[in-house]
């Protein structure tokens, strides 16, 4: 299994500001995945982050809004830029692990934008 730590666990931000979420994993992983869970809704993949290359974004998500860094095999950051109330969500970092490649999730970063 993989242990994933996310910071901050929650934050309240003002419209127009940016927030960077950190994700630390206790083992080296090739790919890290960032998901968004809007209030009371399902999870949607934002992007896949490989170490040493640009993140790959899913339809509807762009690098200018959600820049991602992946400086090494155990760490990644997701920035939510120029926030609006619609960005209020839980942002989840995830990695694959185990023999079956199951996806492990962090506990998420709950973001409220006023």
């Amino acid at each position: 299994s993989a242990v994933i730590s996310q910071k901050p666990s929650r934050d309240i931000c003002q419209r127009g500001t940016s927030l960077t979420i950190q994700c630390q994993v206790d083992s080296q992983v090739t790919m890290m995945f960032w998901y968004r869970q809007q209030p009371g809704q399902s999870l949607t993949l934002i992007a896949t982050a490989n170490q040493g290359s640009e993140a790959t974004y899913e339809s509807g998500f762009v690098i200018d809004k959600f820049p991602i860094s992946r400086p090494n095999l155990t760490f990644s950051t997701l920035t939510v830029s120029n926030m609006s109330p619609e960005d209020s969500s839980i942002y989840l970092c995830s990695v694959e692990g185990g023999t079956t490649g199951e996806l492990f999730f962090g506990e998420g970063s709950r973001l409220t934008v006023l």
């Binding site: 994933i4 090739t30 790919m31 995945f33 809704q41 399902s42 999870l43 949607t44 993949l45 896949t48 989840l92 995830s94 990695v95 694959e96 079956t100 490649g101 199951e102 996806l103 492990f104 999730f105 962090g106 506990e107 998420g108």
Partner: protein
């Protein structure tokens, strides 16, 4: 093509009863079908998963039934307990580069409440 539809949205069962949650998918290229359990304030945790070469997989009280021709799969929770009360998500994926299943398409979620 990438949707996964889940039902019901919410489910209430009595302790000891059977909880059944259903999912349907569209993309026939999907080849990995996990179920996740999420408690409030926590990230989702893998409950059980199945690949399309089998029709059923059981782990303890949890069973996945898979119907490839109908493009449907379901989660059965036997002897449901109050501690099972959580949100359940089905998901589907196809391999990235032949080995990674990290790009999951999730269903809408089912809020399960098990009354004592």
């Amino acid at each position: 093509q990438q949707q996964v539809k889940q039902s019901p949205q919410s489910l209430i069962v009595q302790k000891g009863g059977i909880s059944i949650i259903n999912c349907a998918y569209e993309n026939t290229a999907f080849d990995y079908f996990p179920w996740y359990q999420q408690f409030p304030g926590k990230g989702p945790a893998l409950l059980i998963a199945i690949r399309p070469d089998v029709s059923e997989k059981k782990e303890g009280r949890f069973t996945i039934s898979f119907n490839k021709s109908a493009k449907q799969f379901s989660l059965h929770i036997m002897d449901s307990q109050p501690g099972d009360s959580a949100t359940y998500f089905c998901a589907a994926s196809l391999a990235i580069g032949g080995t990674s299943y990290g790009k999951l398409t999730f269903g809408q979620g089912t809020i399960l409440t098990v009354h004592p």
